[in-house]
């Protein structure tokens, strides 16, 4: 491995900018770190270069631990967005800088310089000053300069940011060519997904300091694991679907899946439909793919090779739900069509069309949607507007539905499933909310968020599960939440007081939890071990500092309200409960 990052964390003023990033980059690989601005990708690159230290974790280059090695001894070449050429030196002096530092002889130096200038096609420019070159030429000089001392790793920090489209493309090609010719391991940081696709062997996508997914461009595009990646890499329609024993039910259509699992009860999932996988036809019968719904063309934009449309879905019981609809519930599907498709079926704005889906991908994400549940419509509405919930749903691109349960918490209400609870149910944390929570959990709510009034965005998420059946669900849910919040994850292991004498057992549990989180969910978390009664210890831990959140898995609802009263009615922290019965 050329570059190995192990749980690298960097904080500014207590806020993690790079959060527990682990990554291996192979020899000669062209790796692209992609993410929106502020996602921590540049900070990570600077950490690899040695220009900023890390607070936690380890960095190794070619097997050599360089975590505490100065930048000048790391043997990396770095190219900056604004070129950072030495303006008082000529092109030749700039390129030879690293060679002069190393006291290379004049003749060898000149030879190496000629070689580099040829590599970036700038022969004969030796005596120019940077100010006399165009932006693209300056960046070529910067690349040559960074390669002069034959570094083992080349790092590029948004190198095309300041260039116009045509030059950018040309320079992209040059850099890719140089990289192949030298076989040098390269990391490029960018926020431009097109650039990432054009250059990368593999892409790593960062958001809020976390490395969300790593993979080859095609795999990431066709099979993203998270909503963020699905929508950040190209356009995507996110639809809510039902996963049942037969397959995936999306609106009026059921798509059969290979992995049938009879016996599993129905649950909600998020389906990704790329705009180019949507088919439009005059009638349902004319569709060649699975029918989704009818709709009306709202907007058409001609973009050259492609036509881009927005199609509003008709309302109706069978209509599929958009995962991210606006408040009024207006769901519009993004569609792109090739010239060929346009010729086959011409549409105009306002026209009614039948919509089909050629291909869809189901996200393995556990948090599909939120439903704010309260005794009255007004309370439910108010709950759905809570800032933390609104922020979470905006970041996760999920919708918030509202549900009124007039008899919520009434003890003698018949204990049977009331319609189904899909997605995550949200209730307000208030007095006797423990009992309401039990009421909802017993009536079929599987995932329940107990949300205090005006709860702040958490900086730390505590994770715990009671009973192994809930472990997988708790970890999956934690991973999903933490991908969307800039918070640190802490698994709290709790052993009964009398187990203090035999600590090895507790430690094993912590290590197992951590490695499972890492392996199955890509979630890096810290671990803590405490002794005592579970809900008391958790409440005590939550008391310790503000802005914390708890994600807890439960299997057994016996005396739930009583056991969890202290935890839920303490009131200042949100608690997300995952209920999974022991089979």
């Amino acid at each position: 491995m050329s570059i190995t990052l192990d749980q690298v964390t960097k904080q500014y003023a207590g806020v993690p900018v790079v959060n527990d990033v682990s990554l291996d980059i192979g020899d000669g690989e062209f790796f692209v770190l992609l993410g929106p601005s502020g996602s921590g990708k540049s900070t990570l690159l600077r950490a690899i270069a040695g220009l900023s230290g890390v607070d936690h974790g380890r960095i190794a280059l070619h097997g050599r631990d360089v975590t505490h090695v100065a930048a000048r001894k790391r043997g990396v070449g770095l190219v900056f967005q604004n070129y950072a050429l030495f303006r008082h030196m000529t092109v030749a002096e700039n390129i030879e800088f690293a060679l002069r530092v190393r006291r290379m002889r004049g003749r060898a130096r000149r030879q190496r310089r000629q070689e580099l200038l040829r590599l970036v096609s700038l022969e004969g420019m030796d005596d120019r000053l940077p100010a006399q070159l165009s932006g693209g030429q300056q960046q070529r000089v910067a690349v040559a300069r960074a390669l002069a001392h034959k570094p083992e790793v080349l790092l590029l920090d948004e190198p095309f940011g300041a260039l116009d489209a045509k030059i950018r493309e040309e320079l992209r090609r040059t850099i890719r060519q140089v990289q192949r010719e030298l076989g040098i391991t390269t990391v490029l940081v960018t926020h431009d997904q097109e650039e990432a696709f054009a250059m990368a062997d593999r892409i790593g996508i960062m958001n809020l300091g976390r490395l969300l997914e790593v993979g080859e461009p095609h795999d990431l595009y066709s099979q993203p694991a998270t909503r963020f990646v699905a929508t950040f890499l190209g356009a995507a329609n996110l639809l809510l679907a039902r996963r049942s024993a037969d397959g995936i039910q999306l609106g009026a259509t059921t798509v059969a899946t290979i992995d049938r699992n009879p016996g599993v009860s129905e649950y909600e999932v998020v389906a990704v439909v790329r705009p180019e996988e949507v088919e439009l036809a005059p009638t349902r019968a004319a569709l060649t793919s699975g029918y989704l719904a009818h709709g009306v063309v709202d907007e058409m934009v001609f973009t050259g090779a492609l036509e881009s449309l927005r199609v509003r879905l008709d309302d109706g019981a069978q209509a599929p739900l958009m995962a991210s609809a606006d408040r009024a519930g207006h769901a519009a599907l993004q569609v792109t069509r090739t010239q060929h498709e346009q010729r086959d079926f011409e549409v105009r704005t306002g026209q009614s069309v039948a919509i089909g889906v050629r291909r869809l991908h189901v996200l393995p994400t556990p948090l599909s949607s939120f439903t704010a549940c309260a005794q009255s419509a007004a309370q439910a509405e108010a709950l759905s507007r809570q800032p933390l919930l609104a922020e979470l749903s905006a970041r996760m691109k999920t919708r918030i539905a509202v549900r009124v349960e007039p008899r919520l918490g009434v003890a003698d209400a018949p204990c049977e499933a009331l319609g189904d609870f899909v997605g995550t149910t949200v209730m307000a944390a208030q007095s006797d909310c423990a009992q309401r929570a039990e009421w909802l959990l017993r009536r079929g709510a599987k995932d329940l968020l107990v949300l205090p009034d005006q709860a702040p965005a958490p900086q730390r998420v505590l994770i715990h599960w009671m009973g192994d059946a809930a472990r997988g669900a708790t970890l999956a849910m934690s991973a999903s939440v933490l991908r969307h919040l800039p918070a640190e994850a802490v698994y709290v292991g709790i052993q009964p007081d009398d187990a203090k004498a035999t600590p090895p057992h507790g430690m094993r549990e912590l290590l197992d939890a951590r490695s499972e989180a890492q392996a199955a969910h890509g979630l890096d978390m810290r671990t803590e071990l405490r002794f005592g009664e579970v809900s008391q210890e958790l409440a005590r831990r939550l008391e310790e500092s503000p802005a914390q959140m708890l994600i807890i898995g439960v299997t057994d609802l016996t005396r739930f309200a009583e056991r969890f009263r202290a935890l839920l009615e303490g009131g200042r922290w949100p608690v997300l409960i995952a209920q999974r019965a022991t089979p």
Partner: protein, 278 residues
């Protein structure tokens, strides 16, 4: 008016007229009067005044001490500016404000203060005395006073240039394998050199013209600790206006020559890089 380039800002005629008038009234006319006053002297009288041993001694002290003071400020002014620009520490704002104090203080006050501290029985002078170092009433005292009053010029000239040195450049040099001192010598220094020279020039000009603070600490012994501005005042007190004007003209000439040389040096330095490109 063919030399007049089209400009977004109107009023070239007005502003140029004002510039000429202002420069003439405030700078050129008084200087012309000075030269005229000296010109009314007989040539041999002029030479006699200007090349007297006392006058020659005063030139040496005035320009020597000024050059020394400006050189000291070149080094320490740079360090001061560097500290203020590059580091965050408690009291940084206060120190930043203190730099300007010598600007605001009446120079006589600075002179008296220095004389008090560095006199043989002063706070610092009494510790230097046993070591055989006399500051007050020697050329050392003159240099010290000139250093104090010209210090803000050096610091303030370099500060903005240092602010502009991009961190990227230093980081780029570091990843290329350069040690700190190498980065300083090859990257930072060349970038701020013009500003350093400007600071040096300003500090030197200020020191040459200084009078108030020096006379209190210099002791004013003819040939030894007498600066040229003082000699001019002595001539004035003897109602020898022509002698004073003659000395003034010499100071003017030497100062002008030195400033011109530094300016030319700067221009040459700037042009060298542009020429290197062809």
């Amino acid at each position: 008016m063919s030399w007049r380039k089209p400009s977004v800002l109107p009023g070239f005629g007005l502003t140029f007229g004002f510039t000429t008038f202002f420069l003439s009234a405030i700078v050129l006319l008084p200087l012309a009067a000075l030269i005229l006053a000296a010109g009314s002297m007989h040539w041999s009288d002029f030479v006699h005044v200007v090349l007297s041993r006392r006058a020659l001694g005063s030139y040496r002290l005035s320009f020597g001490a000024s050059l020394l003071a400006a050189s000291i400020n070149l080094v320490f002014g740079f360090i001061l500016a560097w500290t203020l620009v590059r580091y965050e520490f408690p009291g940084r704002k206060i120190i930043d404000a203190l730099i300007d104090l010598p600007f605001a203080l009446p120079t006589a006050v600075s002179g008296i203060a220095l004389a008090t501290v560095f006199a043989q029985n002063g706070w610092i002078g009494r510790w230097l005395e046993p070591l055989g170092i006399k500051v007050a009433y020697t050329w050392l005292g003159v240099t010290l006073a000139l250093t104090l009053i010209s210090m803000p010029f050096a610091v303030r000239a370099v500060q903005p240039a240092l602010l502009e040195v991009q961190r990227d450049l230093e980081e780029a040099a570091e990843t290329l394998g350069a040690r700190r001192f190498y980065v300083f010598r090859r990257i930072i220094l060349p970038t701020v050199l013009p500003a350093l020279l400007t600071g040096f020039t300003l500090a030197f000009a200020r020191a040459v013209g200084e009078y108030g603070s020096v006379i209190f600490i210099a002791g004013n012994l003819p040939m030894k600790t007498e600066i040229t501005p003082l000699l001019i005042v002595i001539h004035l007190e003897e109602f020898d206006y022509q002698g004073a004007a003659a000395l003034g003209v010499v100071m003017l000439a030497i100062s002008f020559l030195m400033l011109l040389t530094i300016n030319l040096l700067q221009t040459w330095g700037r042009r060298r890089h542009v020429q290197a490109a062809h």
